[in-house]
Structure formats: structure tokens, C-alpha cells
């Protein structure tokens, strides 16, 4: 081979190598996310067909100014102390995790509609720092508890006070939003129930249940529990009494719940009462990750008990007289479709949309912050090129959530409740169905609508929390609102 040909060959080999390595290297480099960044700088502005916005993302009112009432005595005040420590499961093993006030689940906070709630979070020993996010409560933005977006993570030895008025009745929960995929899984959460005002104030008003109990379902190290107890939990109730069980799914995957031993009604979803629910039997109802479903039934007069199933794993809650047994049926095959359950009712806004957004979820190979893998995409792009959905206060917004990623995603929008309009093109025909956490199965498309009535910077993400660290998130941003908090930074904020 002549020298010239050898040179030519080496040149071609080098060119071919560069043709492979350079694009890959560029993709890798372009995916790198700085250790510290502001969410206002990360993403693709999406106006949803609405009017343009102020292009200086750092101009405007800071999220820290959107607080609850600064003064006034709280109606409910509680200090919640977070620790990293082992948890002794009732009737189960001891597992490593996190506690609030020494237990997991942490305290159940009960308040009455309109109460000013003040929660002092004390981080005693959570090494990564922690926060409390009020899941489903449409709090002012500064109280939302997202590290790096609405506050700094609370380091061990520090404390943070949350103050907000609970305007809506319903079943809610609270959990860490700092390294949340680890801390929530490890048990750093509690529940919040907002009860209606006493019926005396509203003659003929809401019926007060004789039994009202939370069933917080959580899986610790593979053991599914109800209120921290493996297997069967028990709640005393007299025959003939009306029981409301507030099922909270604190896990990462969807769960089915059902009532065996009595007909039941699904009376509320994500804190919103359903209109004219009807009795159902042998039917389960899906509670998506982060979601809540309240079921109501009458304890049978024959002295038997009722079982509330909580998905697989053998955990359940039995409600009935002492010593009574409850049927131990398998999970019913039929599943309630909330799209057609109950009766329609007026909705509080016109479906005349100021902005329409798409939230298309897919999956694609590529680099996420330099790590190669098969990652989630939102609208075809990988993190950090996630959508920044821009709204103005008062906008009526339509969001179309489409999932073709091969896995179910429980989509959670902070600070707002959205009305489910349709699924796969089929309009809702039942009760208005309001969600803050919506189960979007693979190959499903949901249309939801909400009013932009709570200014701030809000996460809109998958509540299968490891998916958030794999890039499945977006932000809802109000024109004229900005945040000075940063992800990373001195506080080591890691919201996902």
C-alpha cells in the first residue's frame, strides 16, 4: 500500500470515528445540568396560544411573597419533628426510614374549613434536609414546600413555619419535597383532614359520619401497610353507623381500593365531593399515587364487619363491631369509571379557554445530565428542556395529557385542582371529577381544565417519585412571578 493510500485510510478512519464520537459527545455535553440552577432558566416557554409574557424570567414578584396570613392566632397549631430513624411496623419488621413526631405515618392533622393552620417543621436529623409539601391543598405558593422552588430545604437543626388557611374540605396529605423519592418512600409523610364546619351552622347541611377514619396506605420495604400496620387494621364501629374511610395512596404506583361486606359510595376524590354518588358493590376504585378516595358505607345491622381492601400485599382496614369478622374477598374485577359515576352538576367556570397546553409523555434513549439511558420525555424533549407553561392570573386553562411512554403516570399539579373533561376523546358524563393527582395509563389521553387562580411557580409532575428524578416534570408559571430559590445552591435543594 502506498504511503498516500495509508494516509487516506487513516484519514477516513479518523473522520468516521469523529462522525460518531462528536455528535454523541455533543449530546452528552448538551445534557449536562449545572449543579445549581434556577427553574426560571430551565425549560421551554409554552404560552399555550395565550398572550406573550414578560421575557425577563427573573422580573416580577418573588414566590416568597405569596404567603399565608402573617398574623393572627392559628386555629390549629402543631410542631412536626422530622427524624431519620428506624420504624417499627405494627405486626411487621423494623425498617430504616424517616419519622414525623416519632412515627410513620406522621401525625394526622384535623382542621375545620376556614381554619388558619400553623405547622412548625423541625428537622432534627434528616441529613439531606427536608420540607413539607401540602399535597392537594391549594396553599399560597410560598407554603407549597418545594425545595429549590418555593423555599430552601430545612437543614438538620433548623425549622420552618408553614401558615395557611384551609379553604376546602377534604382529605389531603403532606410529605417531604426534598429528595422526595427517598424521603417519602422512607415514611416522611402525614395526613391532613379538613372537616366541614359543624352542621349546626348549616341547617340540613352535611351529615356527620359517626365513624371518620383515615386509611393511609404505604409500602415500607415491600410491606404494604394501612396506617403503619401490616395486614389487617381495625376500627370500631356500631352496626348501622355510617362510616367514611379516607383512603390515601402514599406509594409510587396506582392502587385499587374496595369495600367488601356492604354496598358503598365513592363520596370524594382528591378532596372534592362527588355529586350524587350511587351505591356500588363488587367494584374497586383506583387511587392513583398521591391521590385520595373517600368511601362511605353503613356498617351492616347483622353484626358483621366491613373490609376496605388496599391493593395487593394483604393490607386492609376492617370497620365494625368488636369481634366481628369481615369478608375476605379478592379484589373485585370490576373497576369504577369515575368519568361516568354520579350526576353532572354546574361547574364554576366557562369552558372558554385562554390557553391550551399539551403534556405529552414519552420515553426515549439519550443522556440525562450526562447519564445515558432510556429517559422520560415531555413534549418530545428530555429534561432540562421541559415545558414552562405560562399563564396569567384568571386564565381558564386546558391541559391535554397524553401518555405513550409504556408506563402509567400519576400526574400531580401543585396548587390547583383540575376538572377532568375527557379521556381518549370521551367526555365525562358523571359528577364533576376534580383531581390534583390523575392516573394516566399508557396510551391514554386526558383533557383537564383549571382556572389559574393561585399565582406562583408550581411543579406539575409525575408522582411516581423516582420518575421525577428521571426528568418527568414541568412547571406552571404565572406571568409576573419569579423565584429566587435555586435547585442545588447552598441549601443543597433537591426537589425530586
Amino acid at each position: 500500500m502506498s504511503r498516500a493510500r495509508r494516509h487516506l485510510r487513516a484519514l477516513i478512519a479518523t473522520a468516521a470515528t469523529l462522525a460518531i464520537v462528536v455528535p454523541l459527545g455533543w449530546l452528552w455535553w448538551a445534557s449536562l445540568v449545572p449543579d445549581t440552577y434556577n427553574v426560571m432558566d430551565m425549560g421551554v416557554v409554552d404560552l399555550g396560544g395565550g398572550p406573550d409574557m414578560d421575557h425577563d424570567m427573573h422580573a416580577g414578584q418573588d414566590v416568597s411573597t405569596f404567603t399565608g396570613p402573617d398574623d393572627g392566632d392559628p386555629d390549629v397549631a402543631i410542631t412536626v419533628t422530622a427524624r431519620k430513624e428506624s420504624i417499627e411496623l405494627v405486626d411487621g419488621p423494623t425498617v430504616d426510614g424517616y419519622t414525623l413526631n416519632g412515627t410513620s405515618p406522621g401525625p394526622e392533622i384535623r382542621a375545620t374549613q376556614g381554619d388558619l393552620v400553623e405547622v412548625t417543621l423541625v428537622n432534627e436529623s434528616v441529613p439531606d434536609g427536608t420540607t413539607l409539601h401540602w399535597h392537594g391543598v391549594d396553599v399560597p405558593n410560598a407554603e407549597d414546600g418545594v425545595a429549590g422552588v418555593t423555599q430552601d430545604a430545612v437543614d438538620a437543626g433548623e425549622e420552618h413555619v408553614y401558615r395557611f388557611v384551609v379553604e376546602d374540605v377534604g382529605t389531603y396529605w403532606f410529605h417531604s419535597h426534598q429528595v422526595s423519592h427517598e424521603q417519602v418512600r422512607g415514611g416522611l409523610f402525614g395526613t391532613l383532614v379538613v372537616e366541614p364546619k359543624p352542621p349546626g351552622l348549616f341547617p340540613g347541611g352535611p351529615v356527620v359520619d359517626t365513624v371518620d377514619v383515615v386509611a393511609a396506605v404505604h409500602t415500607y420495604d415491600g410491606r404494604r401497610t394501612v396506617n403503619g400496620k401490616v395486614g389487617e387494621s381495625w376500627q370500631q364501629a356500631e352496626p348501622g353507623s355510617v362510616a367514611r374511610v379516607r383512603v390515601v395512596n402514599t406509594d409510587n404506583g396506582p392502587m385499587r381500593t374496595w369495600v367488601a361486606g356492604a354496598p358503598y359510595q365513592v363520596v370524594a376524590v382528591d378532596g372534592y365531593d362527588l355529586n350524587e354518588p350511587t351505591d356500588i358493590t363488587d367494584t374497586s376504585v383506583l387511587v392513583t399515587a398521591g391521590g385520595r378516595v373517600d368511601v362511605e358505607f353503613t356498617v351492616p345491622m347483622d353484626g358483621s364487619a366491613v373490609r376496605i381492601g388496599a391493593g395487593g400485599g394483604g393490607a386492609s382496614l376492617v370497620v365494625g363491631p368488636e369481634g366481628a369478622t369481615a369478608p375476605d374477598d379478592d379484589e373485585p374485577e370490576a373497576e369504577l369509571d369515575l368519568l361516568s359515576y354520579g350526576e353532572p352538576a354546574p361547574i364554576p367556570f366557562e369552558l372558554d379557554f385562554d390557553r391550551s397546553f399539551e403534556y405529552r409523555i414519552g420515553r426515549w434513549p439519550g443522556f440525562l445530565d450526562g447519564r445515558p439511558g432510556l429517559w422520560w420525555t415531555v413534549n418530545g424533549e428530555m429534561f432540562p428542556d421541559i415545558p414552562m407553561y405560562v399563564v396569567a392570573e384568571g386564565d381558564v386553562v386546558r391541559m391535554t395529557i397524553e401518555n405513550t411512554s409504556g408506563e402509567v403516570h400519576p400526574m400531580h399539579l401543585h396548587g390547583h385542582h383540575a376538572l377532568v373533561l375527557s379521556r381518549n376523546g370521551e367526555d365525562y358524563t358523571g359528577s364533576p371529577w376534580w383531581v390534583d393527582s390523575l392516573n394516566v395509563e399508557d396510551d391514554e389521553t386526558y383533557e383537564i381544565a383549571f382556572v389559574a387562580d393561585n399565582p406562583g411557580v408550581w411543579m406539575d409532575h409525575c408522582h411516581n417519585l423516582p420518575h421525577v428524578s428521571e426528568g418527568l416534570l414541568a412547571h406552571l408559571m404565572y406571568d409576573g412571578v419569579t423565584t429566587d430559590y435555586v435547585v442545588g445552591g447552598d441549601a443543597d435543594n433537591v426537589p425530586e
Partner: protein, 145 residues
């Protein structure tokens, strides 16, 4: 260059064997967990994590094989390295389709894995068998692997 080529090709074949082992481990773990009445909540278990790391590793090795083939001046070396790389790419496509279109495509993913092991082993073996003089590379004193 030539022994590197052979080593990389055989590393791909070995990787496929490990991948089969990892995914079997992961699958049995899911079954055991569920049968013990515990809950499998969708997080990758050790076997599945190893399988996804293995997928990365094989892809990187396949890419390295292709790049080495450009410089190794082995007859048919580039062609076979490209075949190996193409089968790896197809394996990714089938994995994504198994997630997005339907798990049944996993059957093709499994079959294509065997194809990958075969072509990778063949790519390595044929170069290993080449008479040292047959390649344009100067004869070496080392015996081929």
C-alpha cells in the same frame, strides 16, 4: 489493534450472557416478592438495574468495537463491527417498543439478544482465526486469542 478487536467483540457476547442472567434474576425476584405477599411497586430491582447498566455497557463496547475496526485494517472488520453495532441498535429499538407498544415485543428482544451474542462471537472468532499475514497489519509475535 487486532487483539483489541477480538476482545471487544467477545466482550459483547459475554455481556449478552450476563444480561440474560441479570434479567432472570430480576424477574424471579419480582415473582418471589409478590408470592411472599409483599408489594412490588415498580421501582427497578437489583436484577433490572444491572440489566439497564449492562445495556449501557454493551452499547459502549459495541461503539468502541466499531471505532477500533476503522483503524484495525482487518478484512471484513468494519462490516462485522457494523453488523454487531446494528444488532445492538435493533436491541434498543425492541426494548423501547416492548415498553411502548407491548410487552410481547420482549420476545423479539430476547431472540435478538441471542442473535447479538452469535454475531459478536462470530465477529471476534473470524478475526482471531485470520492468518496474521492475511491482514494488512504487520505480523506479531503474540498468538491470537
Amino acid at each position: 489493534m487486532r487483539s483489541t478487536y477480538v476482545a471487544l467483540a467477545r466482550l459483547v457476547a459475554l455481556g449478552v450472557v450476563l444480561q440474560a442472567a441479570f434479567i432472570a434474576f430480576g424477574t424471579f425476584d419480582v415473582i418471589n416478592v409478590v408470592e411472599d405477599g409483599e408489594v412490588y411497586d415498580g421501582d427497578y430491582n437489583s436484577g433490572q438495574v444491572l440489566h439497564s447498566l449492562g445495556a449501557m455497557a454493551i452499547s459502549v463496547v459495541g461503539l468502541a468495537l466499531l471505532i477500533v475496526s476503522f483503524f484495525a485494517k482487518l478484512p471484513g472488520g468494519v462490516k462485522w463491527a457494523a453488523i454487531v453495532f446494528g444488532v445492538i441498535a435493533l436491541q434498543w429499538v425492541l426494548a423501547i417498543a416492548a415498553f411502548e407498544v407491548g410487552a410481547v415485543i420482549g420476545l423479539l428482544h430476547g431472540i435478538n439478544a441471542v442473535a447479538l451474542a452469535v454475531v459478536a462471537e462470530r465477529a471476534g472468532a473470524r478475526v482471531a482465526k485470520l492468518e496474521p499475514a492475511a491482514g494488512p497489519e504487520r505480523p506479531r509475535t503474540t498468538t491470537p486469542a
